[in-house]
Symmetry: C2
Subunit: 259 residues, 2 copies
């Protein structure tokens, strides 16, 4: 069979088209293909030029998010299947809503919340990363708590960039873990706390990449730290997320949607 190329085409960044495309393609097990993301196809001329490029592929398919019908029409000149989200849904949606669609290529789609909210949240996450500036914890929407290397930093950055949430993160150190309760500075913001935990084996693996063969990285120490952290968090009624097999996006979605 001739090699298949799947083009993810968008009038904006291509992030949504690629996400939809990868998700659709993941249904077809054993299928071999390469993918190409083509963003910013926001004029018929650009679509026209892209058609010439697509025609060079021996076998191709397009998955796209193109708002403007004229640009979609141009793209469909390539005589290969074009699966477009707007083409599929705009008309039936318009019929249900009783409102005509207005096409404007290149509209922002993808991330939620306004630019400034998200940038403020990123700056906040960096300012309070890893227990820095604890006096600013009051400004946080959420405070992620867990042992060192439990994945708090990437989750707090993703919460900021994707959801515009101000997420602080606070590492439970061996000193904290030896105390009878969570640190005072955290208990003052109890409703905002979210615990992150993971399997000791996975934690040991992550820590060994950083400090191989150390006490810090040993499975026994990881076990003890995690046991102490989980006990302390649940005793204070803090919801704890088990993250061993979860991606940053999944953990963030669980936190935001509170399940």
């Amino acid at each position: 069979m001739k090699e298949l190329t799947v083009f993810f085409v968008s009038d904006h960044t291509g992030v949504t088209a690629a996400a939809v495309g990868k998700s659709l393609l993941s249904q077809f097990r054993g299928l071999e293909y390469k993918t190409l993301t083509i963003p910013f196809i926001d004029t018929p001329d650009k679509a026209h030029a892209l058609v010439s490029r697509i025609r060079e592929s021996p076998r191709a398919m397009v998955i796209s998010t193109i708002t403007d019908q004229l640009i979609r029409t141009e793209l469909k000149q390539c005589d290969i299947p074009v699966f477009d989200v707007f083409e599929a849904f705009s008309e039936p949606m318009s019929a249900f809503l009783g409102v005509a669609p207005a096409a404007t290529a290149g509209q922002t789609h993808g991330m939620s919340n306004s630019y400034d909210t998200r940038m403020d949240a990123v700056n906040f996450a960096l300012a309070v990363d890893d227990g820095l500036n604890p006096e600013r914890l009051g400004e946080a929407d959420l405070i992620l708590v867990g042992v060192s290397r439990a994945g708090k930093t990437p989750v707090s950055l993703y919460l900021a960039l994707q959801y515009g949430r101000k997420a602080a993160n606070y590492p439970l150190t061996p000193d904290d873990l030896g105390a009878p309760t969570l640190p005072e500075v955290l208990l003052a913001h109890k409703a905002k706390l979210r615990g992150l935990t993971l399997a000791p084996e996975r934690l040991a693996q992550i820590r060994n990449e950083r400090l191989p063969g150390s006490h810090y990285s040993s499975l026994e120490n990881c076990r003890n730290e995690i046991r102490a952290a989980e006990k302390m968090l649940t005793a204070s009624g803090v919801p704890v997320i088990e993250s061993t097999r979860k991606s940053v996006e999944e953990i963030a979605a669980l936190i935001v949607h509170g399940s």
Copy 2:
């Protein structure tokens, strides 16, 4: 008219369903509605429970990404329009590809690249943020260069989280800007450099939020810094992106796709 609620429903994080949904809804100007993102609907039972919840809305519509047909069927019991990406495309795509779809709810879709690649990239971006650890610039896939507050940090974090790219960022200080060429430490990695610039008015606004009324934030100083930075970057043949009206996602897409 009764208030419209649009449910973005997903068997995974809901990020793609919400992105598709917002993008589709943005076509309908003047339409009033509220939205609710419901992630992790990955069993028929969860879909069944959701249907009861949807029925409580006086007027509702669903935009969804549900891989499993049984779960979709359950969701459609709510007797309101369900616009599902898999429902629309799986069959025609399967007919073209000659491969039957295999439904597995909750598959990872959304971000590209493996988990470890992206986490390494986040840790790298943090380690070399704002000119820290310049001896590690050789490890970078890309080095963002621009004046203070030109937006380098959020773009480098987004490149790491979304694309798994190791992006360093290096601020051009007044000292650097007084020199005849870019700093040696940057010129050693010329092919990796990408300039970020913006309108002096916007830069002054951003800086004034941080240090109001300072020389650093004055429009005149912002003008001078930007002029010097742009001159230095273009003299070295570094591609420069004008970011005044662009979001972090747009800047990142331009960098990754090289347009």
